[in-house]
């Protein structure tokens, strides 16, 4: 059954509404959002509240529901 969620881009404040299945994985969500914003998906984590969503999990396993707001957070490296 399709659900609609919102994914925020922490670097710009922009957000996208995404339509997807509860069997889609978190990696697919990150990939879709990262591709849309021309970003490297490997450089980001996705959060729901205080929790990092693990890439291989499905939305259902991760407890993501209709109208949830997730946030794409960069995972930088300094040297």
């Amino acid at each position: 059954m399709p659900v609609r969620i919102k994914v925020k881009n922490a670097e710009t404040g922009a957000s996208v509404e995404m339509e997807l299945e509860t069997e889609n994985t978190i990696d697919e969500v990150i990939e879709s959002a990262a591709t849309f914003w021309s970003k490297d998906m490997g450089a980001y984590v996705l959060r729901k509240g205080k929790k990092v969503l693990r890439g291989g999990h499905t939305l259902k396993d991760a407890g993501v529901r209709e109208e949830d707001v997730l946030e794409l957070i960069p995972d930088p490296e300094g040297g």
Binding site: T12, E17, E28, S32, R47, P74, E77, G78
Partner: protein, 219 residues
């Protein structure tokens, strides 16, 4: 049957508010600026145009104390610059109101967030109490002076590639601090000013004039 790929149906961009930057009589240069950087700061202030970046004294104190805490062990520190993007007189500038960080995996030449400590980072982001934009990131170069290494530049290009995104580098051993932005294939130093948090926060609220809304585009 394969699961269909996620489909993006709408993008909403954050409006850039037309807000006057902190006034020249309230801002000041950082005490650790080099002579050259201080000269750039004074020149930028004299121009009457908004500086590229304004950092609250509260955020600056947190960055400096974070860097100094780990300086004796020569460990790098890192965090996000939380703020907002505004425009005044056709010039876009960024305000840093707070910072967010967590436990790190760091050495004298590398730093990352500890993957197990993201919940603490998210707690800090939520605890900032405003609808932040990550207007950049900070990290320290304990004893190495302030510049962007190849790793830093990769991070800037990959994650902080908007014109308002800054990289703040602080050297707590040599007492130096600089802010940088991307410039073509490389990067350049940009001047920044410190502002007293309470006074400016109070001053900015009633001076909001209008919103410049950018149209959303798909793809």
């Amino acid at each position: 049957m394969p699961v269909p790929r996620p489909r993006i149906v709408k993008e909403t961009r954050r409006p850039v508010a037309e807000v006057e930057p902190p006034s020249a009589c309230l801002v000041r240069p950082h005490e650790w600026l080099s002579e050259e950087s201080r000269s750039e700061f004074e020149s930028a202030l004299r121009s009457g145009r908004p500086l590229p970046l304004y950092i609250s004294e509260k955020a600056e104190r947190k960055i400096r104390e974070h860097a100094l805490k780990y300086a004796p062990r020569r460990l790098e520190v890192m965090g996000f610059l939380l703020g907002e993007v505004s425009s005044w007189g056709g010039v876009t500038y960024a305000i840093v109101r707070d910072v967010g960080t967590t436990e790190l995996r760091s050495s004298s030449s590398k730093v990352r967030f500890d993957p197990e400590a993201f919940p603490k980072l998210f707690h800090e982001l939520d605890g900032s109490g405003f609808d932040y934009v990550l207007v950049g990131w900070y990290h320290s170069h304990p004893g190495h002076t302030c510049f962007l290494s190849r790793t830093d530049l990769d991070t800037q290009r990959t994650m902080f590639d908007q014109p308002y995104h800054s990289a703040l580098v602080i050297d707590p051993i040599n007492r130096d601090i600089k802010t940088f932005r991307l410039a073509g294939d490389s990067y350049e130093e940009v001047p920044f000013a410190l502002f007293p948090s309470a006074e400016v926060e109070a001053e900015r609220r009633p001076r909001r004039r209008k919103l410049k809304i950018e149209p959303a585009t798909m793809g």
